[in-house]
Symmetry: C2
Subunit: 355 residues, 2 copies
């Protein structure tokens, strides 16, 4: 599905939510805004409902995941919900021993380092997506299906194959992903098997969400920025494309990573929308993309704790820089830091909607 196909589709009405208009490369009356990690750590109501439940258990408890997903929509009036999930949820569903250790991040019990490890891992089939589908349905029960002007569309969540593979190989978050990048070059065949598997795992996870009613999907490739453009193009992006192929022609697809200023055109090869982090101005990103790709981003999360006048100036500059793009969904350049005052996010939504 190309953007022009979406633009001319008869099903698009004037009542389409602003998010989907912008993802389709149009300029809705209201500039849409949401925040990566809006469902989570910055909200007191989140801390309250999450208390006593481990992260991955919360993601897999449909009513809890749905409640958490809806909280920022109620509080901030953002233009989209994003399913409360984690990049490693599909691993847990597939029966891989993984847990999220507070203060550390995802920890894999048996890291994948050798061809034998890859063979052992890739014997796992994607698991039962019933709890994910149930969470999606519970969200759309509250927020609407995304077809009417009063609806708040729900975005599906998936981890990109490279970033997922990097967790599997490193066994935990790392700074340079050396072990993963070493495997990529040392054993291209094992790398291909591993990435094909993570691509189809994430692809099935996204397809289950689309089946259940999400109106867009976003692929999170948090660590793509550690790759050269050659490595990303040859050994990561093809698997992102494979993952997103599972939902092609069904919903708009967003590809996001950090430190990806050199990779944007490659990312646009597998997604209708490209997310940009705080490092690159949106007008420059738009120019690199030939002015043909709707953009999402890119308020610097570091400025969320700055005085309001500093933050306001920055948000206005982001909106201004985004005007050149064929569509713009305002977002942060990365996730909401846990220390963020939620009132600041609400104020940003009000500001963006006034512009």
């Amino acid at each position: 599905m190309t953007n022009s196909d979406i633009s001319t589709a008869a099903s698009v009405s004037a009542g389409t939510p602003a998010l989907l208009e912008a993802y389709s490369g149009r300029r809705p009356e209201r500039l849409p805004v949401w925040f990566m990690r809006q469902a989570g750590r910055s909200l007191p109501e989140y801390k309250e409902v999450r208390a006593g439940t481990e992260m991955l258990d919360a993601c897999l408890t449909p009513e809890l995941a749905a409640e958490i997903t809806c909280q920022p929509v109620r509080r901030h009036g953002v233009d989209a919900a994003i399913l409360f999930s984690d990049i490693v949820v599909p691993l847990r569903l597939a029966g891989i021993d993984v847990e999220i250790v507070p203060g550390v991040g995802p920890v894999i019990a048996d890291p994948v380092r050798t061809p034998a490890d890859v063979a052992r891992l890739t014997a796992h089939e994607p698991g039962d997506h019933a709890p994910i589908a149930a969470a999606v349905r519970a969200v759309t029960d509250e927020l609407g299906t995304g077809d009417g002007p009063g609806d708040t569309p729900l975005i599906g969540f998936g981890g990109a194959p490279f970033t997922l593979a990097a967790y599997l190989v490193e066994g935990r978050p790392s700074r340079d992903h050396l072990a993963a990048r070493a495997l990529m070059h040392a054993d291209p065949a094992a790398w291909d098997r591993l990435l094909t598997w993570t691509a189809d795992l994430t692809g099935a996870f996204l397809a289950a969400q689309v089946d259940a009613g999400v109106r867009a999907v976003q692929l999170f490739d948090s660590w793509a920025g550690s790759l050269s453009v050659d490595d990303y193009t040859a050994r990561a992006a093809p698997y992102s494309a494979r993952a997103l192929d599972h939902v092609a022609d069904r919903v708009p697809r967003v590809s996001f990573g950090t430190g990806t200023s050199e990779l944007l055109t490659v990312m646009a090869g597998h997604a209708e929308v490209v997310g940009v982090d705080h490092r690159l101005r949106l007008d420059v990103a738009n120019e690199r993309l030939g002015g043909e790709v709707p953009l999402q981003g890119n308020i610097d999360p570091a400025l969320l704790t700055a005085p309001w006048e500093v933050l306001e100036r920055h948000v206005r500059a982001v909106v201004e820089a985004g005007r050149a793009a064929p569509g713009h969904v305002v977002n942060l350049g990365h996730g909401v830091p846990p220390t963020t005052d939620p009132a600041v996010l609400t104020r940003i939504v009000e500001l963006v909607h006034s512009l």
Copy 2:
């Protein structure tokens, strides 16, 4: 001092070490090579002499620092030594409570968050550089002054003001340096005071090394890649320039950071040589720099554990890509990982010298 000044200086003889030839924008017969963090964790002889001594104490014990500095020259036959040190050594010398916690990195007892913190910190004067000067002299006693063909020049070490400030503000290594980047925008005056202080601290540290006999200096801005080009240009690079001004016209100056592909031309504004990490091909970097700046880099550290034929192909590609630049010093794109087999580094040196 511009590169052409160095090139035409009467003091440059055919016997000048290859490193200094390349840093001066020429093409010596032998392609010079050294490795960031070559003095350290990958060497058994390093582990032996370091046993029982804390990192910062080792840096400040002249005979030990000199021994560690010389070890990789003896073992690998690299074309340069770099003073064994750490970005926070000048903080310790200035009386700031800092220690390097194994497995964590530098930890600052009292992080700098407020204007009052900045005032308290910047009241500290640079400390006594005698142990640094003694280490430099001990190294040049063994390796020569860098004036003859048999000498191995010693490179001075310094942390860039931004990265040093980021440690001071965060209190420890962090992923996104949010607190530092927040202060940068929230209180530009406090930021300016802090960065002016870190610049002069590093500048004095570098000048002490040049006084004692180093023949080049390298400024390590490990975290510059977290900044947009606008922020780097306005709020980080001017302080790198200020730090390096302390040794201007005395030795060639290398500016290095990771994830800096968008920042190279700004970096070239304050240094004669630019270091490039593994993310950007050297021919592309050279093009962005107008073909006028000697480059250093950029073997991907991830490939050090790959089979030799994979690594060899990569090293040859790096050398090939670097041929366009007016000078090229082969190096890694980042520091030697602790798990590296030192025999691999020796083999790279032999390969590079054969090309």
